[in-house]
């Protein structure tokens, strides 16, 4: 819990800021040790390899973190979450049964020998939510989680456990306010056998640097859908992995991003077919305009013996200006024989024949371009929950050049 007598923020990602954070939240020494260890790991590990050059201009290895102002008051960062948890409090004071449930997910999907930004979230975690849907419970309304970065650094940690046969929809929003917010987030989702989980993660428009690590595991006959929309951020590095751990599991990954002005957006998705008779479908629609830069890496991994896996990856990139650029890099590692795998990709400007067709119906060129550009995202947007689609559409439309 935040203590009012303390400063609400501290500057720089450093051991001293960690001390202030732990004191502010009221966690003990055990937590501090764990956070320090995670921070050391963050400092050791290399960032994801994104070569900078003519188009992608930001060198991830040269990012500085001494100017990041860390939000010490958790409530300010999680206005929608009634019970704000911190790692220390749930690990130390939480009820043992809850703790055991939590531990079925917490850190279970991460690879801390590689994931630099997940380590940073573990170090500075100052807000988050634990969503636990017990076996057989079917939630009719979405659970909404909102994390707000008000010109300061937030480190949200979301844990979702969908029990056997349960159903839930979780909408997670990151809101960016002020001049230089910093967000380093982790979300871990586990779908127990037969569960249906619909995850949606929306990065709202705004400035700042955003690093996200999203990981999911789908167990027997479960169905997991994870849709992400990257609307804001000057620099966005998002990594989304879903692993099908048992037979009958299905994962659907959907992504939209739109890099405008000088935004740099890197999205990486990975689906792992660790066993056979699993199905995955990935659809990513990325656009760039003005000097916006995008990068999409789509991985499909089918392990040996994961026979009768069915994987498809469809990614399309739309370039709306000469200085805009998107790299699309598919990587299919298929080690089993008896599988179905599909990959299709396109990169290009709006098709002139489509524009002419719309114009021949009286629609002015600029309006036709906007309509077609917005339509480009629809196949991925169709996967978003009903209540979020219009919102994402409107935000995408805002980024298109104005109709004169």
């Amino acid at each position: 819990m935040a203590s009012l007598s303390l400063e609400e923020t501290a500057r720089g990602l450093s051991p001293a800021t960690l001390d202030a954070l732990v004191e502010s939240i009221g966690e003990g020494a055990v937590s501090l040790d764990a956070r320090r260890e995670a921070f050391a790991r963050f400092e050791e590990l290399a960032p994801p390899d994104i070569p900078s050059g003519r188009y992608w201009k930001i060198d991830l290895a040269k990012q500085r973190y001494d100017d990041v102002v860390v939000q010490l008051d958790s409530h300010a960062a999680s206005p929608s979450v009634a019970h704000v948890w911190s790692l220390g409090s749930i690990l130390k004071d939480g009820d043992p049964e809850l703790r055991a449930t939590f531990d079925r997910v917490f850190r279970s999907t991460l690879d801390l020998t590689r994931e630099k930004f997940a380590a940073l979230t573990l170090a500075f975690q100052n807000c988050g939510a634990f969503v636990y849907v017990p076996a057989g419970i079917k939630l009719s309304k979405p659970i909404e989680l909102t994390y707000v970065a008000r010109g300061a650094g937030i480190f949200p940690y979301t844990v979702v456990l969908a029990g056997e046969g349960s159903e839930c929809t979780v909408v997670e929003r990151i809101v960016l306010e002020g001049s230089a917010p910093f967000v380093c987030a982790v979300a871990e989702v586990v779908a127990e056998p037969g569960a249906r989980v619909d995850m949606t993660s929306i990065l709202e428009p705004g400035a700042g640097r955003i690093f996200t690590t999203r990981r999911a595991k789908a167990n027997r006959d479960s169905r997991l859908r994870w849709s992400v929309a990257e609307l804001g951020g000057d620099l966005v590095v998002d990594s989304l992995h879903a692993s099908m751990e048992e037979r009958g599991a299905e994962c659907e990954i959907g992504g939209v991003f739109f890099a405008a002005q000088a935004q740099h957006v890197a999205l990486e998705t990975q689906v792992d077919h660790t066993v056979g008779e699993t199905r995955s479908e990935t659809i990513v629609k990325g656009a760039a305009t003005e000097r916006g830069q995008g990068r999409y890496v789509g991985n499909i991994r089918i392990q040996p013996h994961a026979h009768q896996s069915d994987a498809s990856l469809r990614d399309d990139s739309l370039l709306l200006s000469k200085s805009a650029h998107i790299d699309s890099i598919p990587a299919l590692e298929i080690a089993a024989n008896d599988v179905k795998a599909f990959h299709g990709a396109t990169v290009g400007a709006i098709d002139e024949d489509e524009i002419f067709y719309a114009q021949s119906r009286g629609i002015p060129r600029r309006e036709a371009e906007r309509m077609i550009a917005l339509g480009f995202f629809e196949p991925a947007l169709a996967r978003f929950p009903e209540g979020t689609r219009d919102h994402v559409r409107a935000a995408l439309e805002q980024k298109l050049p104005e109709t004169p």
Binding site: A358, S360, R361, G362, I363, P364, I372, G375, F376
Partner: protein, 250 residues
């Protein structure tokens, strides 16, 4: 009205001086073998950027269309039904129809009447209303594409409509439905749409009776006449006409 229209594509002269006048409410058929330049005429009239106009004029009520962008030509009253209409993934038929109607005839129809217009047309065209939620021409069959062209024709009710090979690739039922939609439009008392029906088979003309028939060969209109000309083409083929025209010149 088209006069002395000359058009080239990639520096090849395709149209070598076309003169054609379609009066309001009348149906003209433009027939000719493949490669004679019929579709080039349609695209050039609509303003496709790949078609370079080297001379001539295309006017509606005295307004020169050739100076206008394709969308302004449509707003001036010209409609082209495409032989191969483009797909626009992600844009629903309903949204497209609404946007087009609003562009061509802003705010002239209350939403309820617009809705009725569309549903009446769907019925005429033997189309499921679910069609409205699909993406424009995306994954459509040949018949569905032509039905959508006719649906747009009805929604825009233009002054002049050029139907480019609307009959090609249609089975009898689809052809009947498509022509039924044109007949319904023509039957409306206030409608004065002039039609230019481009085809190389006389089949469509059994459903939509032309007032005049023109035969195009090698970028020129070589013969014009009444409906009987279409019957003659069916009986004798284009070669007989080609021979006759060549003989006449010689």
């Amino acid at each position: 009205m088209v006069s002395d229209l000359r058009v080239s594509v990639q520096e090849n002269d395709i149209l070598k001086g076309i003169d054609l006048r379609v009066e309001p409410g009348r149906v003209h058929a433009l027939m000719g073998p493949n490669g004679s330049g019929k579709s080039t005429l349609a695209f050039a009239m609509a303003g496709h950027p790949n078609y370079v106009v080297n001379g001539g004029s295309v006017k509606i009520d005295g307004q020169e269309l050739l100076e206008l962008s394709p969308d302004k030509r449509a707003r001036a009253g010209l409609f082209l039904s495409f032989q191969y209409p483009a797909a626009i993934p992600g844009v629903t038929v309903a949204n497209f129809l609404r946007t087009a109607r609003q562009a061509v005839r802003p705010d002239d129809l209350p939403p309820a009447k617009f809705r009725k217009l569309i549903f009446d047309q769907l019925e005429l065209l033997d189309m499921d209303p679910a069609f409205l939620g699909r993406y424009v021409n995306d994954g459509f069959s040949g018949g569905e594409k032509k039905r959508l062209e006719m649906l747009q024709l009805a929604v825009l009710a233009p002054q002049y409509a050029v139907l480019d090979e609307t009959d090609s690739g249609l089975d009898v039922d689809a052809l009947r439905a498509v022509c039924g939609s044109v007949q319904a439009l023509r039957a409306e008392p206030e409608n004065k749409t002039g039609f230019l029906i481009i085809t190389h088979y006389p089949r469509i003309l059994q459903y939509i009776a032309p007032d005049a028939v023109h035969v195009m060969m090698d970028g020129r209109i070589v013969l014009s006449g009444g409906p009987e000309l279409a019957h003659r083409i069916e009986r004798e083929g284009y070669d007989a006409i080609r021979t006759e025209v060549a003989g006449g010149v010689a």
